[in-house]
């Protein structure tokens, strides 16, 4: 055995660990021949003796008696808790309709956003100029103008101007379950046969505040915009308006500006649901 091999087993030798008989004999022979290794094994053996003395000196040390009492009390508490019957207050069971309806609406709206947004982007890229012409044509023909959304408070057409601003709708302040609309009200919201572009509508000058948003009754809302670009809203006989919440980033789907720092905030919107249960139009409310 050489010094390198001896060094590899020196700890085991000094700690009196199990070694192969042949290895042990070779190591002991090496000590007799090598003074340096003999000195090293003496140091290692002294260290082992010192560590054993340290063990002995700490032999009586143990956790304080109070800890046992504490832990036994905890154990009893735990066993008692496991054996006691558990009473769980179950929430009141909602009707099937109440349970799935909001989820279904939200899912449908998001699906339509994705489809509508993709279609809008594609059509905008293909016909940017054509879209501008249509807007100009609609503003020059009074019969093609979009109607004010609240027919009952619609003023004379003389003080109407075309704005790229949202409008206010009083009628659609329905809560949760939605407000049923008649055919004429739906037609007023959807603007008859006039071609529509999101965010562009006719509003009264008096309803437009400094920020360019029309306001009535404390809420500011955009115009109703078709969820699907190619959707014909005139086919709607009846509808229902449902108030929903969605991420602010959804505004981008309709070409509206989004503050990306607040993209994760929730905003309110009214969704016009057709009789078939599908969302047909949407407006954003502040």
């Amino acid at each position: 055995m050489n010094c390198k091999n001896f060094e590899a087993i020196i700890s085991d030798l000094a700690r009196e660990q199990m070694l192969e008989a042949h290895t042990r004999e070779s190591a002991l022979l090496h000590i007799e021949e090598c003074a340096e290794c003999a000195r090293m094994i003496e140091d290692e053996r002294a260290l082992t003796r010192g560590l054993r003395s340290l063990v002995t000196s700490m032999q009586v040390m143990e956790a304080p008696a109070s800890l046992e009492a504490t832990l036994r009390a905890k154990f009893r508490e735990q066993v008692a808790a496991q054996n006691s019957p558990v009473v769980v207050q179950m929430p009141q069971r909602a009707s099937a309709w109440q349970r799935w309806y909001p989820h279904a609406v939200a899912a449908a709206v998001l699906l339509m956003f994705a489809i509508g947004g993709a279609s809008m982007l594609r059509l905008r890229q293909e016909q940017p100029a054509a879209s501008q012409k249509n807007v100009a044509a609609s503003s020059s023909k009074p019969e093609n103008k979009a109607q004010p959304l609240n027919a009952s408070i619609a003023p004379a057409a003389t003080d109407e101007v075309e704005e790229t601003a949202p409008t206010t709708i009083d009628k659609a302040d329905a809560a949760g379950g939605g407000q049923r609309l008649s055919r004429s009200e739906v037609a007023a919201i959807t603007g008859g046969n006039a071609p529509r572009r999101p965010g562009i509508t006719s509003v009264r000058k008096s309803d437009i505040d400094r920020s360019g948003m029309s306001q009535t009754g404390g809420e500011i809302a955009t115009d109703f915009m078709p969820v699907s670009y190619g959707d014909n809203l005139n086919d709607l006989d009846n509808g229902r308006i449902v108030r929903v919440e969605m991420p602010r980033s959804a505004l981008a789907q309709f070409g509206l500006p989004v503050n990306m720092e607040r993209a994760n905030e929730r905003i309110k919107a009214d969704v016009l649901i057709g009789d078939d249960g599908m969302p047909r139009a949407i407006r954003f409310v502040r």
């Binding site: 700890s11 002294a46 003395s53 700490m58 143990e62 800890l67 832990l71 154990f75």
Partner: protein, 208 residues
């Protein structure tokens, strides 16, 4: 003639899980001292050792099903929990934990091991044990834990590897390195204290 067999750790654990308080108490009494001393030798603080011991047995009673007897002994499992708690506590309290000195709470219980009649030798040995304790506490944690488990708790390499969650070869090599570091610290300490005496005072002589 009735024979009384001491129940194994696994048996006590099974009874404890069934809600047997006596089994829990027996298990605690059997294993608490080792866990406490391990935490004390690792941290040098009685307060930490007590807290860690409590955490270990609370963990055992709250989720004993995590112990897998096929992976090691219950003792190794408890040391493993203790080791994690000690390291977490040392990390958290690093600026505040002070290594105890010879005159503080960790004074060795000399009456148990001092067999020599010579008071001078006894004093010298006490001093050396104090230095050894300091040297162990001054080791880096991954070396300290193998010295504590293998040398101070006389665990086999297999048991230590199970407690530390590492390979047996790792335990072996770390122990070898840790002992070399200990010897270096002790010799440096002794030589500095004996400076001017004109003679190097070797470890072997001090523990002879």
């Amino acid at each position: 003639m009735a024979t009384h067999l001491t129940p194994s750790d696994d048996e006590l654990l099974r009874l404890m899980m069934a809600g047997d308080e006596a089994a829990f108490t027996a298990l605690y009494r059997r294993r608490q001292a080792g866990v406490y001393r391990f935490a004390l030798q690792m941290s040098g603080s009685e307060a930490i050792a007590e807290d860690v011991t409590q955490e270990v047995f609370l963990a055992l009673m709250s989720d004993a099903t995590r112990f897998d007897s096929s992976r090691g002994t219950l003792s190794s499992y408890l040391y493993g929990i203790a080791r994690n708690h000690v390291l977490r506590r040392l990390e958290r309290d690093r600026p505040f934990v002070q290594i105890v000195d010879d005159a503080s709470e960790g004074e060795p219980h000399t009456e148990l091991w001092a067999a020599d009649d010579n008071p001078h030798e006894e004093l010298q040995r006490n001093e050396m044990i104090g230095r050894l304790r300091q040297a162990v506490l001054a080791l880096p944690e991954h070396y300290r834990e193998v010295v504590v488990l293998c040398d101070l708790h006389e665990m086999s390499y297999v048991e230590a590897a199970s407690a530390l969650g590492c390979a047996i070869g790792t335990v072996r090599s770390r122990l070898h390195r840790a002992r070399a570091l200990l010897l270096g610290k002790l010799n440096a300490n002794i030589m500095s204290s004996e400076e001017g005496a004109g003679e190097s005072f070797r470890t072997a002589r001090c523990f002879a």
